[in-house]
Assembly symmetry: D2
Homo-oligomer: 307 residues x 4
């Protein structure tokens, strides 16, 4: 046979599971989108169509919903760890499981004192509105021995309306850009960070607290960096996370430079004193980099922050 099979994986993608936990009248939500990818001894299914080693993708979907009941959803990371361990340890032909999860955050709707009387309760505790800011992400990979946990977020849009410059760059025959000494810096953050928790013997991080802290440090570093380039701001965002969160060894960012161009109002006899901007769609600068704890290996794939 002149052709051979290389890397392959399969599973059910985008299983939308919502878990309600009832603590008396107070309800709690976890809202996830779970994608399963399994690898192993799958040559025959590709070469001959024999499915003898193939656990159906439909079964992987059922497992997601069953596990939401059996284990609950304490965090996306913990839920993915349960799933990955199950597939690798329960099916001999499966050697590796990768679970990707998106999580959507909700907050409670605050109800009025006046109206709450109509429903005979002090407060409504089962009503929610989706926060709608960033989407939280995690990827859990297990090969039967070691864990790799890469969490992250996407679609977090941030802007500094000042404290950003860009000058002193290379000028070749195609360069027309004017240097900028006070510009808007805006981006839509896509980021992934890798935990140094890799086996069951280690103490597991507090996944929920870690996420909150990483997001906080990322936002603060963005706000507090006086920027000479988006690359510099990116580096500060990553370094701030590594320096403050000992559970994390690597961070990668993909930061589109969401250009805000100062509109030329002179034809209309008006002066634009850094007030009126055109927010452009395409093209956009795209700045991507990995920041590592010194001595650690880079393992987050280059394209992963663009998914």
């Amino acid at each position: 046979m002149p052709t051979i099979l290389g890397q392959n994986q399969y599973g059910k993608a985008e299983n939308r599971v919502v878990k309600i936990t009832r603590d008396g009248a107070t309800h709690h939500i976890k809202d996830l989108n779970v994608s399963v990818a399994l690898s192993g001894d799958m040559d025959d299914v590709h070469y001959s169509g024999s499915n003898a080693n193939c656990l159906p993708t439909d079964t992987t979907k059922n497992t997601v919903y069953a596990f939401a009941k059996e284990y609950g959803i304490e965090s996306a990371e913990q839920f993915g760890i349960h799933l990955a361990r199950h597939f690798v340890t329960s099916q001999e032909p499966i050697h590796r499981a990768r679970i990707r999860i998106e999580e959507y955050a909700w907050e409670r709707i605050e109800t009025s004192d006046a109206n709450s009387k109509f429903i005979g309760a002090d407060e409504v505790k089962h009503s929610f509105v989706r926060k709608g800011q960033e989407t939280r992400l995690t990827q859990i990979t297990f090969d039967g021995e070691n864990w790799e946990i890469i969490s992250g977020l996407k679609d977090l849009i941030v802007m500094n309306s000042t404290n950003s410059e860009f000058w002193g760059y290379v000028k070749d025959k195609y360069t027309t850009l004017q240097e900028a000494y006070d510009r808007i810096l805006a981006t839509q953050v896509s980021s992934r960070w890798r935990f140094n928790w890799t086996d069951d013997e280690q103490k597991m991080p507090n996944w929920e607290k870690s996420y909150e802290q990483v997001k906080k440090h990322m936002l603060q570093a963005f706000a507090e960096t006086y920027s000479l380039s988006l690359q510099q701001t990116l580096y500060q965002m990553g370094a701030r996370i590594i320096n403050n969160r000992s559970e994390i060894d690597e961070v990668r960012f993909s930061l589109p430079n969401k250009h805000h161009f100062l509109v030329d109002l002179e034809p209309f006899g008006l002066k634009n004193d850094n007030e009126v901007y055109f927010a452009a769609d395409r093209p956009y600068g795209l700045i991507e980099a990995t920041i590592l704890r010194d001595g650690c290996e880079a393992r987050i794939p280059v394209d992963m922050t663009n998914l």
Copy 2:
């Protein structure tokens, strides 16, 4: 000529304007997407291609940016009123202007005490993160005499995890649905509301405060209604707005019923006690209705909430 021209309008759509207002070191943002549509004496441009009455769409774009400087952006509604008045009163062939605006909300990034020292200031007041919840909307129409202001929102996702039933419905030969006595009720609100402010002699509403209050009443009515149908909840949401906000005479909703189906876990020997749900995409129930202040005329177009 066997064919004639009917309703027509033109203009520049989706002008993305960001306005920064600097109050010392404290900056404020308004972030809008403005679409202009003009009508009037435009037969010749259609019949013969004569552009003698045609103000270029490019000019309408320039006007949006120039007005952001000249008038500032106090609110989307006020900004649209300036624009609509200008086009109708400054160009004789233009008899009617319709301005549609989307607004994206931002909140401040809270910075740390520790790090703020590095930047030599008590606090950073120029850094923002997009809230990302709903998109605020408004449509301003002016014909030279009267105003019609229809504001609204879209993509506000809400959920009640209990206090929703659905039973007692018609059953025909194609009915297989089981009655439900405790279900999740979730929807992605698209809503528009019409103000009774119609001419310059009236006192203008406080557009910013009105929006906040309408959103609050809408969310509270959703949370506090014990629901026997999404139609009933919709009506309560509209009635609550009309009853609490005297500046509004009409509300329309388009509410997709974002189905959350209880997963059947019995094949796996598990009981699903209203805990684990599959969040479905398509198809979805779609419930749409207008609620009016008694005696008022309906003017919000049926399709407007689906745009």
Copy 3:
């Protein structure tokens, strides 16, 4: 009660139905997305949550699939007519049904002579690739007596690389646009056309042939019009349809002017002789109009072409 219910409708939206018809080894596909909206005596469901008059949206979904079997899908229009008639005539409280359908076109995959021998047949007749050009649309409305059939298409992207000018327009203080004597004209057509078939006594149009012919005339008019404005091209597209298709009385277009800006290459010592263009996203001119057969009434809603 100070608030009252206005226009309202409900039903299941986006029922994705694929119908395979087997003519021996030769298969045929119809691939539709069907949305049902019903109106009638529905006050109580809104006011009190009584569902006594409410046929569940789930039942309307079931009916779509059952009818695909019972009636087949000869055309989207014919299928919608079966559905609308059923809902209005079978349920007393339902007075009006509106069926919206999107249709996706497929073409056959041409198979090779050489390989077809492996499968023991002259040709494979059950393999398809989605054409992917425009999406075909129809809306069927029935009130128990009269029919209104509005068909259309969206996302048909067209371009003329010459034979377009734009000059002689109004110039006010915000006008900076340079006149153009040879520009690219490109748009993404969204169109709806209304048939004059309104009751069962009339001979029904050939819906499939009508669609093909309308699309052909629309494209040819776009190509063959020497354009002095997009408005003029739009009018010619509509007039060509009305003049050639006696079954149609009204056409409406929403045509975004997909700007292609000539790139200034002079800073690089290059001349751009109408060769290199930047295809812009936003903002865009948006030109919308209705063309009517003389003497006919306009009935296509203004916003319908933007859905």
Copy 4:
């Protein structure tokens, strides 16, 4: 410093360039979306914000448009090769360039004999309609010595309405799927293939012909394979390409199993003889694999087909 910089790249993404070539009255279009990513000696821009080695992303954009004039666009691959070579050879700090290109295909609008007389020409040769089927892709990488060319496509939707089975799979405690002996097999192909052209000394492939042939073989293999699993069909699609196109050593696919579920019509007294299907959105099986020419190394990244 406890943190260090890892892999990084930057450039202008999504430069939309349209090139018109005029061959007398006959025009030709190339319509591309070009993204530039440059790497090299960029530590200082990240660490200190010094831009001394940084060619602005704006300059990379200008270069795209200038090169469309200077070199024309013979094919996406050839155009990307010109760009990548330029950045690496003209700027000392840039050691590696990666150019990603999307290409949109257009076809001519056929004009009518009758109407063409009005415009005084035999035929219109400057009018186009976008084909709208798949999006063609390429990625060109150059490090100053070697080339890596990975081309591909996405969003090509295909369906077999028969000749697909799925049975004989693993059954664990979470398995409820029924075996299928005649099902619809449908997918939305995302594929990338790597050329064995790696240096300037080799004869360059005919990029345009190669693309057409690869697409043809991919479609034919999909149509002609009697499928026992989507994995088997995927393998046949890849093997057919490798076996027929000597310029290609590696192919990777990401194939979502676009489920078409047979609708249960028995509650309505109807038999569904493989006729009426519900086309589901989420979740979906996702099957991904690489097929290699025996002896060749795999180099297409796992995530690249999901971008």
